[in-house]
């Protein structure tokens, strides 16, 4: 099951959890110093290592050479959070190995030789890590990872040294945001070695009140401790948002959420900005008990992104895209 379809722990506020492990192969230069031949060799090595393993997860991964992926699909993959924007920014030889549900993706030839990424819905850092760790062991049995006793796993950027592990949790924080707590949140989060940034928006402004927290420190902290810290911090933010929601159960809030539902059930033209703003209110309305839980707001948020629409409907004009988006939303809300 994909990370954006279904019900997951703390799903009223936590959208997703992502684990990323950075690994490099000893004796090879880091990707920005590699030539095309070395890159092709690297892709082949990783492909072979996973293909020769008997593990069922490894067997299920599909190898995709990025040059065989059309441009719109590459951007649609970014919108589904499968690959990073950096990964498609240039055209060097790169590949991914991806699971059928797209929750597991091994990127080959990004900033590091290998980046193991596992996505899961809701707040499930341990579960995501378990899968990432299994793949790490599997690859590590076949490939000599660059490792130093002092510095841990060696990475192209010193900011990823040590465990090479980045945990990111995406949270929906509309009331924390409207109560102007985001600045305070950024401060308290940075004190414990994390960063916070707005998702889908420009700079720090979040388009749908979606914020992502990620650990900054990767060296000197074990994986277990980091998972513990991430969970504790996320739960702290969840509790704060839940308290704000309880304290703000007013007709005004109900009105705002139900109006959003009203607009999206009737509109014929919806831009992606408007969609994000209104889906955010619908999601809030669901957790307040104003709207049915069955509306798949996160799925709609992902499937309504520009390249996801283009992927389904082919190359269309921006206005036609807004029509397709409005239809997608109307149909999803009509049956409720």
């Amino acid at each position: 099951m994909s990370w954006y379809c279904g019900n997951f722990p703390e799903n009223d506020i936590v959208i997703s959890t992502r684990i990323r492990l950075a690994r490099n192969i000893a004796g090879l230069p880091f990707p920005s110093k590699m030539n095309e031949e070395q890159r092709a060799e690297l892709c082949a090595k990783v492909k072979k290592a996973l293909a020769e393993s008997n593990d069922s997860i490894a067997q299920s991964l599909k190898y995709i050479d990025m040059k065989d992926v059309p441009v719109e699909e590459r951007y649609a993959m970014v919108e589904r959070h499968i690959i990073s924007p950096d990964f498609i920014a240039d055209t060097h030889t790169r590949a991914i190995l991806i699971s059928p549900d797209e929750c597991i993706c091994v990127m080959v030839g990004e900033e590091d030789h290998i980046r193991i990424q596992v996505l899961s819905g809701g707040l499930q850092p341990e579960k995501a890590y378990e899968t990432a760790h299994a793949l790490d062991r599997l690859l590590g049995e076949q490939l000599p990872f660059a490792f130093d006793e002092r510095l841990g796993y060696l990475t192209e950027c010193p900011t990823n040294l040590g465990t090479g592990m980045r945990v990111s949790v995406m949270l929906h924080l509309p009331l924390t945001e409207s109560r102007h707590h985001i600045g305070a949140l950024a401060d308290s989060v940075s004190k414990v070695g994390f960063t916070v940034r707005g998702m889908y928006g420009e700079n720090s402004k979040a388009a749908a009140s979606l914020y992502q927290i990620s650990n900054q420190i990767t060296l000197g902290l074990s994986e277990e401790k980091l998972l513990e810290n991430v969970k504790a911090l996320a739960m702290q933010l969840v509790e704060r948002e839940r308290n704000e929601r309880k304290a703000n159960d007013t007709v005004a809030l109900q009105d705002r959420c139900l109006r959003a539902f009203g607009v999206l059930s009737q509109a014929r033209l919806v831009s992606s900005e408007e969609m994000m703003k209104l889906l955010s209110r619908i999601k809030l309305g669901q957790s307040m008990g104003y709207l049915p839980e069955t509306i798949e707001t996160v799925r709609l948020l992902v499937e309504g992104q520009p390249n996801m629409i283009a992927r389904k409907c082919g190359p269309v004009s921006p206005q036609e895209r807004d029509i397709h988006r409005a239809t997608l939303l109307r149909e999803a809300l009509a049956t409720r």
């Binding site: 000893a26 760790h133 006793e149 040294l161 465990t163 060296l219 902290l221």
Partner: protein
């Protein structure tokens, strides 16, 4: 006296910190002191002399490059990216203060790879020397055994973290 941080090497740097009126003293080895940011990467006096004679270019042309990938430290500090795993060994002393600032640590805690990796040469050599030492003792060749023992000690001293 042994370093109070790693407990492995001799303490060569005495640090006296005054925090809120309380004096804290610490004895650290050269590497730990450097990692904690107490020492600047030592300026080579010859470098200074040359650069004062020829300007910047003299010191640049003498800059060490990574034996594996040819990256220099100025390239790393300009891009924030390291050339290859070997660069971390080549430029460890100069990277350590930066790493310390980013992570608040220079000592990895956590999982280790299953397979032998970038530093196998040193380990294999010590291992093989130990093996040879056992052989020499068994063969009662004590002169050679003593030489091997000293060699192992020297290597352990030089490669221990």
């Amino acid at each position: 006296m042994l370093c109070e941080n790693c407990g492995k090497r001799n303490a060569t740097t005495h640090i006296r910190l005054v925090v809120n009126g309380t004096v804290r003293e610490q004895n650290l080895c050269h590497e730990c002191a450097r990692a904690a940011g107490y020492e600047h990467p030592s300026a080579d006096p010859l470098d200074n002399l040359l650069s004062s004679l020829f300007g910047e270019s003299a010191s640049l042309s003498r800059e060490t490059a990574c034996p594996q990938c040819n990256t220099t430290f100025s390239q790393i500090s300009a891009t924030g990216k390291v050339g290859c795993p070997e660069c971390y060994h080549t430029f460890y002393d100069r990277l350590a203060p930066y790493i310390q600032r980013v992570h608040g640590s220079t000592h990895h805690v956590g999982s280790q790879p299953t397979k032998a990796t970038s530093t196998p040469t040193e380990k294999v050599t010590i291992e093989s020397l130990r093996h040879k030492l056992q052989e020499m003792i068994a063969a009662e060749n004590y002169e050679e055994a003593a030489r091997l023992r000293d060699e192992i000690r020297a290597m352990e001293g030089g490669t221990a973290q």
